[in-house]
Amino acid sequence: MDNKDKLFGLIDLNWRFELTKFKQVGKLFKSRWFPLLPIIVNLFIFVIILLAGFIGGYSSGSYNFGIMIVWILWWVMLMFILVPGFSRSWCLMCPFPIFSDWFQRKRLFGVRQGKLEGLGLKWPKQLKNMWVMNIGFLVTTFFSGLFTVKPFATFVLLGGIILLAFLIGLIFEKRSFCLYVCPVSGFQGLYAQFATAEIRRMNPELCKNHKVKTCFVGNECGYGCPWMLTPFDFKKNTYCGMCLECFKTCPYDNMGFFLRPPGVDLLSDTPREPRRLDEAWKAFIMLGIAAVFFLTMQGPWGVLKDMVRQATFKGWLIFITLHSFFCLVGIPGIFFIFSCLSKLFSGNKEVSLRQIFINFAYTLVPIGLGVWIAFSVGIILPNGSYLIHVISDPFAWGWNLFGTAHFPWTPVFTGSLGYIQGFVLVIFYLFATALGFRLSKQTYLDLSQAKRGWIPILIFLTLVTILFLWLYLG
């Protein structure tokens, strides 16, 4: 990365602000209570969510604690604040893998040195990528009409994920589930590349001279990276689950938590963490799902809603067929055409079409994140007031714990909804174009080729943004 490279001529891409230099933050990150404490708090909340889905009174989705907390609050927090702001900070506090962690470590709190419990098998090499997560998340969306409406369906989904996390933890090593299976993990990893925070080692020389690499193998203060990364040299947020074990195991306190400009990981392409086809497809799938979710959940087309909510089996089959085709073939296919045009326009013969396709697919990270944030605005503003009801009556048993059980449905700023969504889309489009041109320069290496090769991709990004502006603004 150019030392003087500034985004929009304003934001220095090399700027970092270390938060762990504040003693209290540093101390917190070194403590074994953190992130255990937020995980336990979250575990308590998820127990209530599961109970609400399992034994809660019969209520509509909007009056169910599980559905409202998971699909309204959590989803919006994830897309709105956690991922774009703090990378995979959800993984830091996620309670799903805690049972397998406890089982493997045979400790609730402390550190157990030596071999972990369980079979500890290596994850199959062919599946060491995002494909399982890609397909898993896409398949999950087939049932979106149930999960967002029927509390019991949410129970089955979350319970199934917790069970799967536990089973995989028994059979495979460390956090194989989080790294290769969890449907929530894939898109967080992808979009965390745009996040304005990162965990990185501070002084590379110190790591170089530290032969034991305790961040990877662990010591008496903490476990070796449960995500099987090498914290002493990773360059991207994609697969760092922010478990903070590397802070605890580093004897030199050489790990730092930094604020940074958005999207810098998109420009990183190292032999250890290269840009990959599975990540590119993740970007296509996420963009496709966002479009389909908007059409089916916020659009005016009742026929689509009927398909998604499985009014007829035939209609649902049509939905999953079209949805899958759109996400797995349609969008990548269109993008491939624009990649071909990019190569044609650039006049470059050396760079492979595959490399062009993969590199430029990362321009869809800011676009996709913007689309999802805009979609989340469309969820929280009309429906957020239901949260005030459900905290007083989490099990739909007629409780009124905080006196808010009768709080009426109160949409907020819905008159400005389209404009807010449009504003978000335009901002993220600008980031996509700014970062995209840098990707073009990395791809073609020659400025004039990069400029020419960038034109078709810029047109594609513009068309996608216009399409979503049309959808959101009408």
Binding site: G53, F54, I55, Y58, E117, G118, L119, F152, F155, V156, G159, G160, L163, F166, L167, L170, I171
Partner: protein, 280 residues
């Protein structure tokens, strides 16, 4: 830890979750209640070599020689408004002569209500046949989930058709049609009654529609606090799409009775459960 122990834990966890999901799925709407399927009452429709000319009456002597089936009625409460009282029972008999099918309904009613007026309603009865042969309980009300053929006899209509009497007092029909229409050359809004029975079709509550062709005949008499009504239609359906078909051995039907003096009209009525017709 041994491999076998881990495998056992995995199997136990999966089974436990499956049991949990099964329990949740069966209890998601509360504790499941086993509903015993009630056996429908059976009304036999035997063959008799008998033809009844309704112009001459309803052949009361013949019907009294047959053993009627007592059908329990309850007041309708599937759709508002509900009736305030009920007719508890109707006696029903039926037969066919290979050409026509006949139904005889008899029920107790203290008052004879056949003249319409302000807040005055006619006594009536009806038979409904679901067009779907496998109609389930929820389809009872006006063919709630499927089409139904309904034969609706009304006392007021009966006197209009058979006795050519005006069924209304004090010209209250002003809201329904132009009161002097009879004196006009062409009658356009006043219904020309073709039968004492209105042959209707419906697909759910609020969709009752008279059929274009009326093939059902009927006649009723009030005698010492008892209504006796006979329905008659050709055994073979003229319009198989809209008329009840009696060619199979078993058919479902349901009965309804309205007591006009109790303010019953429309949905305010007493109805039976499904009754199985056994056509012999």
């Amino acid at each position: 830890m041994k491999k076998s122990v881990i495998i056992l834990i995995c199997i136990a966890a999966v089974i436990l979750f499956a049991l949990l999901v099964n329990y949740g799925a069966t209890h998601v709407r509360g504790v499941p209640v086993k509903i015993v399927e009630q056996k429908a009452e059976v009304l036999e429709v035997p063959f008799f070599d008998k033809d009844i000319d309704l112009n001459k009456g309803i052949a009361t002597d013949f019907w009294s020689g047959l053993k009627p089936q007592e059908i329990k009625l309850i007041y309708q409460l599937m759709a508002l408004p509900w009736p305030k009282s009920s007719t508890p029972m109707v006696k029903v008999t039926a037969f066919h002569n290979t050409k026509d099918i006949y139904f005889y309904m008899e029920w107790i009613d203290e008052t004879e209500d056949k003249i319409l007026g302000v807040n005055k309603f006619s006594d009536a009865c009806a038979i409904m046949f679901p067009m779907d042969e496998k109609a389930q309980a929820p389809t009872l009300m006006m063919g709630f989930l499927g089409r139904a053929d309904i034969w609706h006899w009304k006392a007021s209509r009966d006197i209009q058709f058979w006795l050519k009497e005006e069924p209304v007092n004090n010209k209250v029909y002003v809201d329904l049609y132009y009161p002097f229409e009879d004196k006009e050359t062409l009658v356009v809004s006043k219904e020309i009654v073709k039968s004492a029975v209105n042959d209707l079709t419906a697909i759910r509550v609020g969709t009752v529609t008279p059929k274009e062709n009326q093939y059902v005949e009927g006649r009723g008499f009030y005698n010492q606090g008892v209504w006796q009504v006979v329905f008659k239609r050709s055994l073979k359906a003229v319009d198989a799409q809209n008329d009840a078909i009696f060619n199979s051995g078993k058919r479902l039907c349901a009965f309804a009775v309205w007591n006009g003096s109790k303010g019953e009209r429309g949905g305010r009525k007493s109805i039976s459960d499904w009754v199985e017709l056994l056509i012999k």
